[in-house]
């Protein structure tokens, strides 16, 4: 059980990174981004492209640290892929969503547009990489460490948790202390007043996409490291992402962190009794219970 909790924390950290982006985009751009899971896939596959194609050409050293997957290839691939994914998301925003905003389209229309963007992105992945399940470092042996209380954890997983927490702390610092971060929170609070105050809301939107997509990319890469890459991977994350976002109160990035961890742990612990294939159903169940019992989420006050 303790071991399942630890796995849940690892998986939950990945959900949390995706959910933070989803909740920021919802809060500031005011629509549900159904393409968010696919942004995770994009990040993972861009890293794959870098690791398998670009880095060997450039002669990046292949050694890894200890029993991990982490060597220069992965360490370099992460920020590059995050940056590229951010640019892709910003380009998608300018191409798809900005014209819709200019026409004052309703949130439902924007959400449907994001569903279309999700299909486009996923099918591009099919075209370029095919439907196979792929491993970043095929054939690499990554033994688990034996921790007290009979918990086994792979060094990779430990790094994933630490990295996720570090990124969350970074986002927290950004939102809490920087001018742009405060402007993002202000825009999420009251977009009309933000505009009246002179806040450059277009700039805020661009940064929201950039940060949300970069976090999604890192989450996608982490999932790829922890498991496998396949074109549907991000799509499969959509349900836990939305469950985490709603559980932690839509628009609240700190809530998304807590929501992600809770969903991750609940999903993993459920495998003690249920077939692991039912995990998405467990996330769905949590979502339904939250919507019935506390639709405003853990951190929602009166609205």
């Amino acid at each position: 059980m303790l071991e399942l909790t630890v796995y849940g924390i690892v998986y939950g950290s990945i959900i949390a990174l995706g959910a933070i982006g989803l909740t920021l985009i919802y809060g500031i751009l005011r629509f549900a981004n159904f393409a968010h899971g696919d942004l995770m896939s994009v990040g993972a596959y861009i890293a794959l492209f870098l690791i398998q194609v670009v880095f060997p050409l450039l002669g990046v050293p292949q050694e890894r640290f200890g029993g991990t997957s982490f060597g220069w290839p992965l360490i370099l691939a992460m920020p590059i892929s995050a940056g590229v994914t951010a640019l892709i998301a910003i380009a998608l925003d300018q191409m798809f969503y900005r014209p819709l905003r200019a026409r004052r389209a309703s949130p439902v229309i924007l959400a449907m547009a994001s569903l279309g963007a999700a299909f486009i992105v996923r099918n591009l992945i099919y075209i370029f990489w095919g439907p196979d399940k792929i491993n970043y470092f095929p054939g690499l042996y990554r033994p688990a460490w034996q921790l007290p209380f009979d918990v086994r954890i792979r060094p990779d997983e430990l790094i994933i948790v630490v990295l996720a927490m570090g990124l969350v702390a970074l986002v927290y610092f950004f939102l809490q202390k920087t001018k742009l971060g405060k402007a993002m929170r202000a825009t999420a609070d009251n977009p009309d007043l933000a505009r009246v105050t002179g806040i450059n809301t277009e700039q805020v939107r661009v940064w929201t996409w950039g940060i949300g997509a970069a976090l999604a990319a890192v989450a996608g890469i982490m999932y790829g490291v922890n498991a496998l890459l396949y074109p549907e991977m991000g799509w499969g994350f959509l349900l836990p992402l939305f469950a985490a976002t709603i559980l932690g109160t839509v628009g609240n990035p700190y809530g998304a962190l807590v929501g992600g961890l809770v969903i991750g742990i609940v999903q993993r612990i459920s495998t003690a009794w249920l077939n692991p294939a039912y995990q998405p159903a467990v996330a769905f169940l949590v979502l339904i219970v939250v919507l019935l019992v506390r639709p405003q989420g853990i951190f929602g006050g009166r609205s």
């Binding site: 929170r185 007043l193 450059n200």
Partner: protein, 234 residues
């Protein structure tokens, strides 16, 4: 030269025309109050001046610049700030963060200005790190006004600053508005508490049905019997 001049402005929401050619003049340092029955177009006039609604005909001139059709974020840079009637604060931000957002377009050091505003609202100073959502209605109104003052505006547009406040708080807000005005900021406000507001206004306008009905100095409007009967509740 007038600081703010509105000439024959026609405007409204979508296809519905609310203002049918309204004019208004504000001299530097004046307090100008707009009164009139519900639906007269008072708030519409402020929103139109500030660029939130498009001008279909007429002209708005501010400090010698024709700002007709400008967007709010450009108008703000010229030194005009607007406090909407509702939803005029960022509730999940602290008092100080609200003020920082008010100074968003400032690139210089605005800390001295912030302390001046805290000196004007001592109530807020003790609560500077409290989330504005947790404050009382009157305190929120002060945050909203303080936020707008961060840019050192030449003119402040206030849409019903006393709406929904307890009588004591109304008095306090009006007192602060007078103080702000004494520091050299011209005030244009829409008010339901018309009698109280006109007492300290340099000039007043009565709007009805989207048109100018009367204008005059505050005391003159208060003494006018017809205005008293029709618009000030006897």
């Amino acid at each position: 030269m007038a600081l703010l001049e509105v000439q024959g402005v026609v405007s409204g929401y979508g296809g519905m025309e609310i203002l049918h050619g309204v004019s208004l003049r504000v001299e530097p340092g004046q307090i100008v109050t707009i009164i009139g029955p519900n639906g007269a177009g008072k708030s519409t006039l402020l929103k139109t001046v500030f660029g939130l609604l498009s001008v279909k005909a007429g002209r708005v001139t501010f400090n010698g610049t024709d700002i007709t059709g400008w967007s709010p974020d450009r108008i703000v840079r010229l030194g005009m700030c607007f406090v909407p009637q509702t939803d005029n604060v960022f509730p999940s931000l602290t008092v100080q963060e609200n003020f920082e957002m008010g100074a968003f377009i400032r690139t210089d050091d605005y800390r001295a200005r912030m302390e001046e505003i805290f000196a004007l609202f001592p109530d807020l100073k003790a609560r500077r790190h409290v989330r504005v959502g947790a404050l009382s209605g009157g305190q929120r109104q002060m945050v909203a006004i303080g936020r707008a003052l961060m840019l050192d505006p030449k003119v402040l547009l206030l849409d019903e600053p006393s709406a929904g406040l307890a009588p004591k708080m109304v008095e306090l807000i009006f007192e602060r508005i007078r103080e702000i005005n004494k520091s050299g900021v011209a005030i244009v406000m829409v008010e339901q508490n018309a009698r109280e507001a006109l007492k300290f206004s340099d000039w007043g306008y009565v709007l009805a049905g989207g048109e100018n009905r009367f204008e005059g100095s505050g005391p003159a409007l208060l003494q006018n019997e017809e205005i008293g009967r029709l618009y000030l509740g006897g």
